[in-house]
């Protein structure tokens, strides 16, 4: 029995990471109807930036967040302002194809710079510390921390969206870009800020990913897919719904892995397809994809 509790617990904890993958994705789609195919590769890019930061500056991975987060946010702003803004419009092919091209560029750029070798960030003692929740149930301190950070990130995003002028600007521009302009909001700037925020979240997710497991330039697309699945399982339009979707995905994968290690990812896909078949609007909303 504790066996299964551990499995589900692990699933929930990794689900927090998936929720972070998903949050950035869902934010962008909410504000400007853009799905960034390079999203997963940007997570990996953040991981490599953290790698460089820790190696050249001799700082710990968590400290590297102080560099990687602002850097990724700046990259996000520039990316949106100078490239992606030009793809927005009625036609969905341009943003899809440009972000697809971006994905290829990032993957191969990282491959050229860092080779395909597995890398990992070392968080030292933090990685092996465990916490005992109840009798027989132990949880790694790092996964717990990562889960807490995920909750904090989602809560922070909720706060920004619903209690700040910036969030109002995001929601208004998403409702009607034209009328938002009448309020003095420059859409190009608002969209770029949204992407900056998204990549800031991506940066946090990337650093935790790098600490948690081996990474190499090719693992981006899988992260995109996990984030995407979490968004669909949870349902569009709700950040906490996305968070819950991440947890469901994490648990589905954990159960699959427990039955047969080769089935881990497949189990996640199947959970996604089942939700898509039975309740396409997601588990936690009333909207439609």
């Amino acid at each position: 029995m504790t066996d299964w509790i551990n499995v589900i617990l692990q699933g929930v904890l990794v689900g927090g990471l998936y929720a972070m993958f998903a949050a950035g994705l869902s934010l962008i789609f909410g504000v400007m109807r853009l799905v960034n195919i390079a999203h997963g590769d940007l997570i990996v890019l953040a991981a490599y930036l953290a790698l460089v930061a820790t190696q050249t500056l001799g700082i710990g991975p968590l400290v590297s967040l102080l560099i990687v987060v602002p850097l990724m946010a700046a990259i996000g702003y520039a990316l949106q302002r100078f490239i992606l803004n030009r793809t927005l419009g009625e036609d969905l092919l341009p943003p899809l194809l440009v972000t697809f091209g971006l994905s290829v560029i990032i993957q191969n750029g990282l491959l050229a710079l860092f080779t395909a070798d597995d890398r990992k960030l070392d968080a030292g003692a933090l990685e092996v510390a465990t916490v005992r929740l109840v009798e027989g149930v132990y949880v790694g301190l790092l996964p717990l921390l990562q889960f807490a950070v995920a909750v904090a990130v989602i809560a922070a995003l909720q706060f920004v969206f619903y209690r700040t002028a910036l969030g109002r600007a995001f929601r208004a521009t998403a409702d009607s870009p034209q009328v938002a302009q009448l309020m003095g909001l420059d859409n190009r700037h608002v969209f770029a800020l949204a992407m900056a925020l998204s990549l800031a979240v991506v940066a946090i997710a990337g650093v935790f990913l790098a600490i948690r497991a081996d990474f190499d330039p090719s693992i981006g697309p899988a992260r995109l897919i996990f984030g995407f699945e979490a968004v669909i399982i949870g349902g569009l339009g709700s950040l906490w719904g996305t968070f819950a979707g991440g947890l469901v995905l994490g648990v589905a994968q954990a159960i699959g892995a427990h039955i047969n290690p080769g089935w881990q990812i497949l189990a996640g896909h199947i959970a996604f397809l089942v939700i898509l078949a039975i309740r396409p609007e997601g588990l936690f909303t009333k909207g439609r994809a």
Partner: protein
């Protein structure tokens, strides 16, 4: 005054004539080409076919799929399965694989059509991943490392290697011609008119009685079946299959998308032009490895931002050419000698 609809135009007549000449030359390739030439040409044909089918789906039906590799791999695995376990001659297994894949596409369509736009795209990718992961679990076909075609099946195609090469080459040529013919006929039919209407405005099309969903599903299923046949052929020629190769996003989707974007989406000539450019680049730059892919990505982005209609799109805009007669022209005839034409 009477009205008739015609497809031909002066440039299309010239273009078709050139195509006919080209076709004869290519059909005779075994006479003038070596083994490497034939294999390269067969690869080119396969990519033209795959890109044309992707173009039909995305450029005409508006269904942007990033998961067509699902059907390439499915077709390939079905061929291997039928050949190795079903005792079906390999060449006959190609159309069979296409039919089965089309049937599989029906429930898949029921699933992925619940998503729209960008989400549809990623949904198709996930389906392909499910196929890939499932294939890795099928141990009788080699599981994760894959398997090879037994020599007996290959020899059954033809006794000599040279004759096999010729036959495989003609099969490749026949497949791409069949695919292009299929697309042209589809677009000239009322389904084609429906697709054009849907592309211009789905809402208006629905109001005019076009069954949008049914048309899209039809195109999706037909494309899936045809893509599977191409996939079956590709791996027949390769003699070996593995899940990563059969369901590779890079080979069967990224390259296909780049070809179509560079050549021009939504026009039949586009994928052909794109494939030629793609292979020209590949022959000259392939040694650069990852840098080559990087450049491909950059070129695709640049084209999408600067010339979204691709190379052929620019040609059409500047010169108004079309090779395949597809634009409907309504000609009003007030007397036998007097007619004015309006293009649609």
């Amino acid at each position: 005054m009477s009205v008739r609809v015609t497809f031909a135009s002066r440039s299309s007549r010239i273009g078709l004539a050139l195509c006919a000449i080209g076709f004869v030359a290519l059909a005779a390739a075994p006479a003038w080409g070596g083994r490497d030439d034939l294999q390269l040409l067969a690869q080119i044909y396969s990519y033209v076919a795959l890109a044309s089918l992707w173009n039909l789906l995305a450029g005409y039906a508006g269904l942007v799929s990033v998961g067509q590799q699902a059907y390439v791999g499915l077709g390939a695995y079905l061929l291997f399965a039928f050949g190795i376990f079903g005792g079906v001659p390999l060449l006959a297994a190609i159309p069979l694989a296409g039919l089965i894949a089309a049937a599989v596409a029906v429930p898949i369509a029921a699933l992925v059509f619940r998503l729209r736009g960008h989400y549809f795209a990623i949904g198709t990718w996930i389906v392909a991943e499910v196929f890939r992961l499932t294939a890795s679990q099928v141990s009788v076909l080699g599981g994760g490392s894959g398997t090879s075609l037994p020599a007996s099946l290959i020899i059954a195609i033809a006794p000599s290697r040279q004759l096999r090469d010729f036959i495989e080459y003609w099969v490749a040529l026949a497949l791409v011609v069949a695919v292009l013919l299929l697309i042209v006929l589809l677009l000239r039919s009322r389904y084609g008119l429906a697709l054009k209407a849907i592309r211009d405005s789905e809402l208006a099309a629905t109001c005019n009685g076009v069954d949008v969903i049914r048309t899209k599903i039809l195109v999706y299923i037909v494309t899936a079946g045809a893509t599977a046949m191409i996939g079956a052929f590709i791996f027949l020629q390769r003699l070996r299959i593995s899940p990563d190769a059969a369901f590779s996003v890079n080979d069967w989707t990224a390259f296909v998308i780049f070809i179509t974007v560079i050549g021009g989406i939504g026009r039949i000539e586009g994928p052909i032009v794109g494939t030629i450019v793609f292979f020209a680049l590949r022959q000259t730059l392939a040694d650069l490895g990852t840098v080559y892919l990087l450049m491909l990505g950059a070129v695709a982005i640049a084209i999408m931002l600067a010339a979204p209609k691709g190379i052929w799109g620019v040609v059409v805009a500047r010169l108004g050419w079309q090779i395949f007669p597809l634009e409907r022209r309504v000609i009003a005839e007030s007397s036998p000698s007097h007619s004015t034409a309006v293009k649609a």
